[in-house]
Amino acid sequence: MTEHDPELLNVPPGAPHDSMLSETISYVIGLALALILTGVSFWVASTGVLWGPGVATGLVVLAIAQMGVHLVFFLHITSGPDNTNNVLALAFGVLIVFLVMIGTIWIMAHMNANMGISPELMNLQMQH
């Protein structure tokens, strides 16, 4: 079972590995890392010892890290040659997701700021 096997030139996303032990270990490592990252997220959000304005950014970073853990250990997205198509599709998806989210938040925040009214009044204007 090497990558010279024509059947292994591509693998679908989520396809398991070879041996039962290595598959199970992969999922257990993924679960452990995800549990740690989730725990740290809830701790960061609850504790008062961190610098307040940076907490939201830190939470987003932790969430992106946990998504990466899920992709690698649960969906088995790797950098190997058999995974090129899966990674390219993922990269395009991530590009569109970031364009939509950052573009919308950026433009809407600037439009609201340029309306020249107070945030409280804008809150009322956007109620419907």
Partner: protein, 214 residues
Amino acid sequence: MTAGTEAPAIGLTHQGSEDTGLGHRGPESKSIVVPYGFWLFVLSDMVLFSALFASYATLVHATDGGPTTSQLFHRLLVAVETMALLVSSFVCGLAMIAAKRANMLWTQGWLLVTGFLGLIFISIELYEFATMIAEGAGPQRSAFLSAFFTLVGCHGAHVTCGLLWIGTMMAQIWTKGFQPHIMRRLLCLSVFWHALDIIWVAIFTIVYLIGTLP
């Protein structure tokens, strides 16, 4: 294709040749193409959710004098929901390992646990929604709550579909066995279920944790 004597594979080409993976080998087998197509669907589903996240982030402060995020959300409930969905995703992986070995008992057992944990998740979410609506914080109260119910409700609808799918797959494995087309469907189901957990990571971080920061 002479394997063994060639140089090791370099980059995207295999065995150092110009074989692009199409040529004389023909198209990929169905066991590759079907889950890949489903992977593209899952990614486009994430694009759909990104639009819902964007509208939520834009409208989160448009509360119209009604309840705000920190008044509505309870972190304990969210923590239980998160644990249920995360362990469910893990157990779904165990079910795939058992299914690959055509082990009927363990596959059905793990799928049952997967579905049960998903049911716990969706029950807590419905309880949260019912409590909010009873408090007068329904989707028509403010733009913020409309965006909230659309985003989280869309995820909950996906989980509900996933639960129905799990039940369907359990019945199909039971009656038809581990045939190739059943295994393809099972693989698509696991990709779907893992993807729902990835979207939930974004929801519990952006909506619940950042929404309840002091």
